[in-house]
Symmetry: C2
């Protein structure tokens, strides 16, 4: 394979040994079906195949496109679309072809849409504190009854404690996760079914109530998750080239910007300097505190570490898995778009 | 063509009559070659063809991919890559095939790279106040001499007053643009060549010194530019579907989030409500001030207006040009990625 040096920039790069270590660490903690890897974090069937090979054969998806792509790749043993869907035509079509797909529902409307589209299996999505999707605890049993009345099979409940993922105080976080999961268990009492699906990278160790944890970002990590003391290391970066340096060397510019980086958690970081600002296709870098000049030369390749990994991945057509400077594998980001 | 109602969401949508009005307004102000439309704003050769038909036959690109795509679409009469490039192999290849491409240079290294790659035409990129690419005014003439010594043709100078695009005080903005352009004209004195390329949507009327204005965002506009009193209207939005509403109707959730929206200028806005926060594939909406309940029903289609249009476009595979609820044209975003 060609060296990184010979590629056009910007490029999405994963340090393969660290990635493999992250994967193994999680598999040891949550083996097999106790982890339902979240495809939205990597959007690549190449990555999903590695997880499947490690024993994680049930996956979580955020979009219909992710479901369709996983089905095409033969990874459809047990797919959960952890999101409400009103237009179920595309889902119904892959289910009619034999894919095993479960869909989250939280209202009469989404249950009706599931029945109409030919969906057979649903989870009742319960709001456990994040102001997003999910019914209330008292609604859960009634919705399950309504869904059963519509001929749907209820596999259980789902409740994402997303508001707790980034808490710095681990004890407080543990307490809040418990409160969220007590709500989910109360809903499960009324709903039934074998599955209690919850959790994420930030709470995978704390959430001992769920039967399966929905985590994905742990594979790549980002600067945001990096602060939370989790046993995973950052391994995904955007490789960029220094294309311009100010005459007095007080700043440098690289050829990757806000079109190549997930910006919703803020600027990326860089080793050896400070990110001043990102433009569409540029990032301006200042020297480190106490330094007057940037340490790079025009043409240098440098790694930008994104603040938010999931939206960074979805901006790129492929991920290069590298060992040192060698490209070992090329992973198409084949599940992006909708 | 199918109605919008029958499409999967999220979708990137352009109101065609407003788009056409924006295009015409700018063409009347800056006809023909006095505008060099910036492809980075729309990343679609379908849009570029409409501009070409309106007489704007010279284009500005931000990436090599944009140059390659414009060449493939037969829109290569005069392409300016307004960005420094170290790896000129791909550019050299399209130039060898006959495309007319000019590249920005701001250092000995980028001039050497241009010569090495078979680039024939360059502009000297001058820093006029934005801490990004561009040489100093005193460097410009020396770099031009060096480039000529390397057998390159100098077409003139370029200087982007990007730091002035969003200024609210129009008088102060005019004054600052004048100062920036005086610097560019001083550089041009030493550099020569017919082109003085500068400007953008935010300064297109004020910048009377440049021979051509590099503007693109005016076609679609965004909430950020919308505040600046320009004679263009917002016409690009992300169409999303309401997939969940809280039991007390105090919030609603739609199926488009930070993976579908340029987030570097902040959250999108929505008519009839307030954007609470964006997740990867969701946006949570609150009622308007003074209201207790959101006005939508599950299944409703609503438009999110992005804060920054350029990075929003690059997240989507296509743009639907609509008149009312009818899809009139489908524009592939064929110039995205790198």
């Amino acid at each position: 394979m060609r060296d990184l040096e010979n590629r056009s920039t910007p490029l999405l790069v994963v340090d393969l040994p660290i990635f493999e270590s992250n994967l193994t660490t999680m598999s040891q903690s949550l083996p097999g079906l106790s982890l339902r890897p979240h495809v939205k974090a990597f959007k690549s069937t190449s990555v999903a195949k590695r997880l499947f090979a490690a024993g994680h054969t049930a996956f979580c998806c955020a979009t219909i496109k992710e479901v369709e792509g996983m089905v095409s790749a033969g990874l459809a043993d047990d797919l959960l679309l952890a999101n409400e869907v009103l237009d179920t035509r595309r889902l119904g079509s892959v289910i009619a072809d034999g894919a095993h797909v479960t869909v989250a529902v939280d209202s009469v409307e989404t249950i009706d849409a599931a029945s109409r589209g030919g969906v057979k299996n649903v989870l009742i999505d319960v709001n456990v504190g994040l102001r997003r999707c999910g019914c209330t605890v008292p609604q859960a049993g009634r919705l399950a009854d309504y869904a059963r009345g519509n001929g749907l099979n209820i596999r259980g409940v789902m409740g994402y404690e997303g508001h707790l993922m980034m808490m710095q105080d681990r004890e407080k976080q543990a307490d809040e996760v418990r409160i969220s999961m007590e709500a989910l268990l109360a809903a499960h009492q009324d709903v039934g079914g074998p599955i209690i699906s919850a959790g994420g990278t930030g709470t995978f160790e704390l959430n001992t109530w769920a039967t399966e944890i929905q985590a994905g970002s742990y594979l790549f990590m980002d600067t945001h998750y990096g602060k939370s003391g989790l046993p995973f290391q950052q391994c995904l970066s955007v490789l960029a080239r220094v294309i311009s340096i100010a005459e007095d060397r007080s700043w440098a510019v690289v050829d990757a910007g806000s079109k190549a980086l997930g910006m919703d958690h803020g600027n990326p970081t860089v080793y050896g300097g400070i990110v001043a600002f990102c433009s569409d296709e540029h990032t301006t870098l200042y020297p480190e505190k106490g330094q007057r000049q940037v340490p790079w030369a025009i043409g240098d390749l440098i790694h930008l570490s994104p603040a938010h990994v999931d939206p960074t991945v979805s901006k790129h057509p492929e991920i290069l898995a590298v060992r040192g400077n060698k490209v070992i594998e090329e992973w198409l980001v084949d599940l992006r778009d909708w």
